[in-house]
């Protein structure tokens, strides 16, 4: 009996979706932890760059400005190849697999985390800069009036308040970050896209396996949307602002229905 290979193999689709192979799960896991670590690093570096851009020292402002200009002005894919292959080809730095506490981190994964973090830190610095600017100038003065130094005012008063303005656009960026891990396949990082490609070429069930991958990406971004909604509600509560009579679920539904609700929170 002749079965067309273009037919959708329902069994294969459901099997890989519900009982994915360990290779598939491994790829999914790498996608998650690479995104999370890169995002955390990006927030830290982004904060430093954002503060540098507000510095009174012109040289510091200049260096930080150039950093953002270059990293936002060049494609992630190009940065990735330069850092992983370019540095190695010119013998400047060659990433090696390292084993820490029995866990081996592949060379390509290290380069991936570094590149994603650097790239994202440029965007984060702009988000944090906007967040800092959104905090009322009177807050800084109030902190100074009780005897804080400008550095203390920043640390104890301005930065914690900026968080409220930073979370919505940060969430947007992290959503994008999880999806852009798919370009890491170019340097051979065995993440979700790379593994999906491998399964595809060995089974020829291209449509099925990529549909599965798409659903897993969708699941990741959906879970993140839940977490983000929870975070925003929590921050609002810590300002004594209750989201009036609106359930957690309702505000999540709203997020998907109305793009305007993504706008930065009310003052």
């Amino acid at each position: 009996m002749l079965i067309s290979t273009f037919q959708f193999n329902t069994t294969f689709f459901w099997h890989e979706l519900l009982r994915p192979s360990s290779a598939f799960l491994g790829g999914l896991w790498r996608t998650v932890y690479i995104s999370v670590i890169a995002q955390l690093l990006a927030v830290i570096v982004g904060l430093v760059v954002a503060l540098a851009r507000r510095s009174t020292l012109r040289i510091l402002r200049g260096v930080a400005g150039a950093y953002v200009w270059v990293l936002r002005g060049t494609p992630l894919l190009v940065q990735l190849v330069i850092i992983y292959d370019g540095l190695a080809a010119t013998d400047i730095y060659r990433f090696q697999d390292v084993t820490v506490l029995g866990v081996t981190v592949l060379a390509s994964v290290q380069a991936a985390i570094l590149t994603l973090a650097l790239n994202e830190s440029a965007y984060m610095s702009e988000i944090i800069r906007a967040g800092l600017a959104a905090v009322d100038a009177g807050q800084h003065e109030a902190a100074l009036s009780i005897g804080m130094t400008p550095a203390q005012a920043m640390r104890y008063v301005v930065v914690p308040q900026a968080l409220r303005f930073v979370i919505p656009p940060l969430g947007n960026d992290f959503n994008a970050m999880m999806k852009s891990t798919s370009v890491l396949s170019v340097i051979g990082v065995p993440e979700l896209f790379f593994i999906t490609q491998e399964i595809s070429s060995s089974t020829f069930h291209t449509f099925e396996i990529f549909m599965d991958a798409a659903l897993y990406y969708l699941a990741l971004t959906t879970i993140w949307a839940f977490i983000q909604t929870w975070l925003e509600a929590r921050i609002d509560r810590s300002w004594g602002i209750e989201r009036a009579q609106r359930s957690w679920w309702a505000s999540l539904r709203e997020r998907f229905q109305d793009p305007k609700t993504l706008a930065i929170g009310r003052r």
Partner: protein
């Protein structure tokens, strides 16, 4: 530059009772000269109310006292210390470090027109922050201090409220408690009731009145003429970047000698 030297009993710099000594303060923003040589001495326990039309420089002068604004020239001393500047070994005036300025500001309370409470902190946390972070006071002690101050301004039952959950008058009272918790030698008020609804102005004024009765040294920018008459030891009338008239409330309000004072009072009374 006609500027009125204050007729306060003490006018020498090294005397012990002088909390504020301002001499010939000039301040310009871009090409606009906002203060044209303002001099004012405030003795310990004295309440001085600054009145005058908007744009006359009274708020800018108040902000010069705690170095929120840096004068272009003139001498500003609080408790005998130059504010924002210091003398180096050669006796030359140089800029003080951020830390030195902060230490000086810790002894000067400042109450803002728009309260500027920290919105992400409860009333109690607002008041505790200065003692903990600036005075390095242990948390438990800071808590006691903060509760005392909040009780003093009549908000003992609101300590766990966030600013968003308080009325304007309550917010301003928390702001006053936040300043008092630092145990300041001087309190500065920048139009403390201008952003308030009429019905809550009284509760804030009564807190300030209590402070006056306790002998707190205060400089208050206010449009509340009735209140100024009641609490002020002296009233300074600002116009066009200068103090045009200064004296007791009776002198300034009942027998103003300057035409500009008369013109201003005829509009606000």
């Amino acid at each position: 530059m006609a500027s009125f030297s204050s007729p306060s009993p003490a006018s020498s710099v090294d005397d012990t009772g002088l909390v504020v000594h301002a001499s010939e303060i000039h301040k310009s923003f871009a090409s606009q000269e906002v203060l044209k040589g303002v001099s004012l001495d405030v003795v310990r326990g004295e309440v001085v109310v600054l009145i005058g039309p908007s744009g006359s420089g009274k708020t800018t002068f108040l902000r010069c006292i705690n170095h929120f604004e840096v004068p272009n020239s003139g001498v500003m001393q609080v408790n005998g210390h130059l504010i924002g500047t210091k003398l180096d070994r050669q006796g030359k005036r140089v800029e003080a470090s951020a830390r030195e300025v902060a230490t000086q500001r810790a002894e000067i309370g400042f109450v803002f027109q728009h309260f500027n409470l920290f919105p992400n902190r409860t009333a109690l946390e607002n008041v505790m922050l200065g003692p903990i972070k600036v005075q390095k006071m242990p948390k438990e002690k800071a808590r006691t201090v903060a509760i005392d101050q909040l009780t003093k301004v009549g908000l003992a039952n609101k300590i766990d409220r966030y600013p968003a959950q308080l009325s304007g008058g309550q917010k301003q009272r928390v702001a006053i408690a936040r300043s008092l918790a630092m145990n300041p030698a001087l309190m500065l008020f920048d139009e403390p009731t201008s952003a308030l609804d009429p019905e809550v102005i009284g509760e804030v004024l009564s807190v300030i009145r209590d402070l006056a009765n306790e002998g707190m040294t205060m400089v208050i920018v206010s449009h509340e003429i009735g209140f100024a008459r009641e609490v002020a030891d002296r009233v300074a009338m600002f116009d066009d970047g200068q103090i045009v008239e200064i004296g007791t409330p009776q002198q300034v309000f009942d027998n103003p000698t300057q035409a500009r004072t008369k013109a201003f009072l005829s509009k606000v009374l």
